[in-house]
């Protein structure tokens, strides 16, 4: 669970308490492998593909996706990370703080950028990410890969590659790690 998620989800600054394990570690690994194959199929190879993980939850998954590409195709796909804090649309409304330095490998002109995040929810992070990418060039295409699509979109954004579609209530929370995907709640920390 990203620190930002923890801070801005009611009851603000609570802890994640898992209720149901939705995917186990093997299922996450299989999903990463499948998404890697889908990316290769859709782009007829990896020649122009650049993988960009969103801070913080998407970085680990992006890294695993790059590893999967190497396993399957033998190619080294450029890998970057993107922190969208400076592009958020809730600046001034909620606390915002960059959590890591953005690192984009080279110019994105004419590249196919695969944005990677752990959970797709309202779509606002992706909106900010699309805005941020424009500072690095004009990609030929931007595609979106997420481990979990939990619904509740507030913007016209859809994923291209999904690990699992997971219907949720708005007040639930989803935690994605290498060990699996858990559905649960944010609970105020008891002393």
């Amino acid at each position: 669970m990203a620190e930002r998620e923890r801070r801005i989800t009611p009851p603000y600054g609570g802890v994640f308490v898992p209720r149901t394990r939705v995917m186990d570690a093997d299922a996450v690994t299989r999903a990463v492998t499948r998404i890697a194959h889908e990316v290769i199929e859709r782009n007829a190879g990896l020649a122009e593909v650049v993988v960009v993980g969103l801070q913080t939850g998407g970085v680990r998954l992006a890294h695993r996706l790059v590893e999967a590409f190497e396993r399957i195709d033998g190619s080294q796909v450029p890998f970057g990370t993107l922190d969208v804090a400076l592009y958020r649309d809730d600046i001034g409304l909620r606390p915002v703080m960059p959590e890591a330095v953005t690192a984009i490998p080279g110019d994105l002109n004419q590249k196919v950028v695969v944005l990677v995040d752990d959970v797709l929810f309202t779509g606002r992070t992706i909106r900010a990410a699309l805005d941020a990418l424009t500072a690095y060039g004009r990609p030929r295409a931007v595609q979106l890969a997420v481990m979990v699509d939990r619904g509740h979109r507030e913007l016209p954004i859809r994923p291209d590659y999904v690990g699992k579609n997971l219907p949720t209530r708005r007040d639930e929370a989803v935690d994605v790690t290498d060990d699996g995907v858990e559905l649960g709640d944010m609970v105020r920390e008891r002393r």
Binding site: R7, I8, Y12, G13, D83, A85, L86, Y87, D90, I91, G92, L93, R94, P95, V96, M97, P98, A100, V101, T102, A103, D107, D131, A132, T134, A135, Y136, G137
Partner: protein
Amino acid sequence: MRHLLSIADLDVDVIEQVMTLTDSFVEVGERRIPKVPTLRGRTVVSLFYEESTRTRLSFETAAKRLSADVMTFSVGSSSVKKGESLRDTVQTIEAMGVDAIVVRHGSAGVPRQVANWVEAGGVRVINAGDGAHEHPTQALLDCYTLRERLGSLRGMRIAIVGDVKHSRVARSNIAAFTVLGAHVTLVAPPTLLPESLVGWPVEVSHDLDAELPKVDAVYLLRMQQERQTEALVPSLREYTACYGLTARRAELMADGAVILHPGPMNRGVEIAAEVAECPSSVITRQVANGVAVRMAVLFLLLAAEGGDVADE
């Protein structure tokens, strides 16, 4: 953080937060398009009662790279010439609905006074240098530049050389370097030191040649001839002979030690022209980092805190 008035107000955590945040803004500066939309719709006013090149340009560049609107107030072309008081000027600016005021003034304490006046309206105030008191963003960018070259300031030995008496940069830097764990030695003739150093966490030396081999960084201060109302040194040539960082003296420094100067430099006085350009000199890095540090400060004051979500 509500205002940035003095380093003395900041604890080590806030300084570290600024440093970490600056990493992100340095990266922004390296992009094809070095601009982020973070402060769209916000207005930053630079209110400079003293001349300045780098600080004013640096703040304005920082604000523009964050997409804020920037208004520049220069005393020469304003109603101050007609006798408008500082308070009335500040009230006028505040009434226009600005979000932050960057203040430079020849008198110590003016930024804090301005902050008190605008407190109710929620305007943020940043001290861009007040008299011989403080210049906090200069200290923050110096700390960042030193961290970049030395890794950490903890345990580092830093010599601050020259006109400490008139220097707000020295005061802010002594506070910042010390909070981050460095040891500071002031090197200057007695006439260029404050009359009392009681409570200053520094050592004092009058022998630059003896100090140079021992330090990890040497910070040269500008000879502030415009503030020196009495004859504090016999002549600038004599000052240079005793305290100037000449090419010969620069060779006394340890490998990897760095040279800083807040600018504007008096080449040939406190620093030799060729020393300013040598590989140990990080003077242009200081200027480049200044923009990123000021972006971090503007971000912390104007954007980092949210509205309705309480950080309980």
